[in-house]
């Protein structure tokens, strides 16, 4: 690092000690501007242009045309009545997916955190067990479950052994959605459990001791002490799960490919396919859809900031 020190010393002589801060900040800001700030602006520009060219200068201005096209629906409750029905199917699926996922995630991670917070032998081991899948890549997670859920897979073997019939899980839309939610919970539950566990451990033990002295039943202590004190952590978990749910793509994409038909197609997959994998790459429409998604995520992030601020206050 001598090699770097020498020019840095020269710079310092030129700028002075304090202004060296800018030098240290510079690389990060260059990356930030190039890959976040600039793209954010371009994204909005893209969303008001049409055509098939990638470079904004070659793209004709269409005003709100892309948005109008996206929102051209007879009824917003029926994706089939929209001109861009895949987008609305994606929205409907994402909503359904996120709702089920958040409810089940909060429930399971809460139960798991409470159990892990009890006096249990080998707590560290069990914590690791639940956390382990969080580290796996979405592709690996999806392939593991695809292997288990396939026609001649482990689960169907179990079903037939119990006298049942084989089920084609990825042919039936209801099952496909169920497994999309299930696999996503399986993969991420450990993360939320950890947040709740940290919250549970911060609750002072003497509160429970006092409750025990008063002969308060345990379920009541849970209702009156644990839940209220854990509430801020629960809110963080709910909002984080909401944000991630809305962004869901990879696991479901590898698991079901969005199918059967469009039964598990998510908004992000719609954006990805509209921009990159369709015959006609429609960057304008994809950008408009991602602006809509961005607005939703921005709202959720504000909620999260508010929630975490209350937690630290």
């Amino acid at each position: 690092m001598r090699l770097i020190d020498w020019p840095m010393r020269g710079l310092q002589r030129l700028l002075g000690e304090r202004r060296m801060a800018y030098v240290f900040l510079l690389p990060n800001l260059v990356f930030f501007s190039l890959f976040v700030f600039l793209p954010l602006i371009i994204n909005v520009v893209f969303s008001v242009t049409g055509g098939a060219a990638l470079f904004p200068s070659e793209r004709p201005y269409v005003g709100g045309g892309q948005y109008a096209y996206l929102f051209d629906c007879d009824s917003f409750l029926d994706p089939g009545s929209c001109r861009e029905d895949h987008f609305w199917r994606g929205v409907a699926n994402t909503l359904r997916f996120t709702t089920f996922q958040v409810v089940a995630m909060v429930l399971f991670s809460l139960v798991t955190a409470v159990v892990l917070n009890m006096r249990i032998r080998g707590r560290g081991f069990f914590r690791a067990v639940y956390f382990f899948p969080v580290l796996l890549s979405p592709v690996v997670v999806a392939l593991i479950w695809k292997w288990i859920l396939q026609r001649d897979g482990l689960l169907n073997a179990g079903l037939t052994a119990l006298g049942g019939q084989k089920i084609l899980f990825f042919i039936d839309p209801g099952w496909a959605m169920f497994w999309a939610v299930f696999v996503s919970i399986w993969a991420h539950m450990g993360f939320y459990t950890l947040i709740l566990l940290a919250g549970l451990q911060a609750i002072p033990a003497d509160l429970y001791e006092a409750a025990e002295m008063d002969a308060t039943p345990r379920w009541r202590a849970f209702w009156r002490i644990t839940l209220p004190l854990l509430w801020p952590n629960l809110v963080v978990v709910i909002v984080l799960a909401l944000i991630r749910g809305v962004q869901t793509f990879d696991e479901v994409f590898v698991l079901t490919g969005g199918g059967p038909g469009t039964a598990t197609l998510m908004v992000v997959q719609y954006i990805y396919e509209t921009a990159f994998s369709n015959q006609v790459q429609n960057f304008g429409l994809a950008a408009a859809a991602s602006v809509v998604l961005g607005i939703v995520l921005f709202g959720l992030t504000l909620a999260q900031l508010a929630a975490s601020r209350r937690r630290s206050a």
């Binding site: 010393r9 600039l38 159990v115 979405p138 593991i144 940290a198 990879d250 960057f283 992030t301």
Partner: protein
């Protein structure tokens, strides 16, 4: 040792089993099966032969039919345990199958031939690991290349992330300067923006830079992570200022202070960020999928997904490659488990 034993044996104050203890252990046991079971099943399956994978119902362990060389036959013959007409059982090798009758020989005495109905024989099986599932993809597909690409992306991206984020964190924690708040705001601002909503314009920037189908297209956009800056800044704020003042007195340059004093002291925070960066980069999927379209530059995750489409019937390769992809992460986790979980609990990042 005594303390450990006491800790393990501690239960409720009464020392008796409360029903909630039993419920808790049942729940946890179920959890172990549900969380580890699928991964274990994947690993076991990855060692099965192609024929073994097609079996239904599947066997738990990778088993395959035993084969023997019999004099007079050029190829090894599969062994069966058969029931003869007189009710006795013998182990015979099958020469060929004609309709519902199998022509079999005694491996000890090849001259003796038998004709056995096929429902009167069951294969003799033995435990055998099909290592070829792992070795063949290395020769036949670009698996080694995908692995190399993934390692390159992970290592280089993590180094860049550590460097530029620690520099920014240093600036934001040690100095007072004009525009500091604006810089902080920008960093906080990035926290909110997932790649999914700027997919198209980042693609445009990468195209303008001439980096499409280059591994740098994957490395560069995620290099400046706001979570990283935050984590490092919080840690650097706790370092004693006197140390830096003393170094300045000794005529150390600002860069020297950063590199020789602050960086070594920030090692614990850097290690946490390094683990996370490795995890993110190794597992990344959507962005590489969009920007890497040529097979030569595929990372493991993209390669795996592509294999999935191409090799629909070749589960034996796919499973082995999946195991090879998750193995490094699993290993890192085994050694750094405590570190990773506390890191996540403290910083709330992933």
């Amino acid at each position: 040792m005594n303390r450990v034993a006491r800790l393990l044996l501690v239960r409720r104050k009464s020392g008796r089993w409360h029903w909630t203890d039993i419920a808790a252990y049942t729940y946890l046991a179920l959890g172990v099966v549900l969380m580890f079971g699928p991964v274990l099943w994947l690993v076991l399956s990855s060692f099965k032969t192609q024929a073994g994978l097609l079996e239904f119902p599947p066997s738990l362990l990778p088993m395959s039919q035993r084969e023997v060389m019999v004099q007079g036959f050029p190829q090894p013959l599969p062994l069966f345990s058969t029931t003869l007409d007189d009710g006795s059982t013998r182990v015979l090798a099958q020469v060929r199958r004609i309709g519902i009758v199998a022509q079999m020989v005694d491996p000890e005495n090849p001259a003796q031939q038998f004709r056995i109905p096929i429902d009167k024989r069951t294969p003799v099986r033995e435990f055998k690991l099909a290592m070829e599932n792992y070795t063949e993809p290395l020769e036949r597909f670009a698996f080694a290349r995908f692995l190399g690409n993934s390692v390159f992306v992970t290592v280089v991206a993590t180094l860049i992330t550590l460097l530029i984020n620690s520099m920014a964190a240093y600036a934001l924690s040690i100095y007072e300067f004009k525009g500091k708040n604006a810089a902080m705001l920008m960093v906080v601002g990035t926290l909110m923006i997932p790649i999914t909503i700027i997919l198209v314009p980042v693609y445009l920037v990468i195209t303008e830079l001439g980096l499409v189908n280059s591994l740098w297209a994957v490395i560069l956009p995620g290099a400046a992570t706001p979570t990283g800056v935050f984590l490092l800044r919080q840690y650097m704020l706790t370092l004693p200022r006197d140390l830096i003042e003393a170094a300045r007195m000794d005529k150390a340059s600002e860069w020297q202070i950063y590199w020789r004093i602050v960086m070594p002291l920030a090692m614990p925070a850097l290690a946490v960020l390094a683990i996370f960066s490795i995890m993110w980069r190794w597992n990344e999927f959507l962005w590489p999928l969009a920007v890497l379209t040529k097979t030569e530059v595929h990372t493991l995750q993209i390669g795996l997904n592509a294999f999935q489409g191409e090799l629909q019937t070749q589960w034996h390769y796919l499973l082995a490659m999946t195991v090879a992809t998750l193995a490094p992460v699993a290993l890192v986790f085994v050694f750094l488990q405590r570190f990773i979980t506390t890191g996540i609990a403290n910083t709330g990042m992933k």
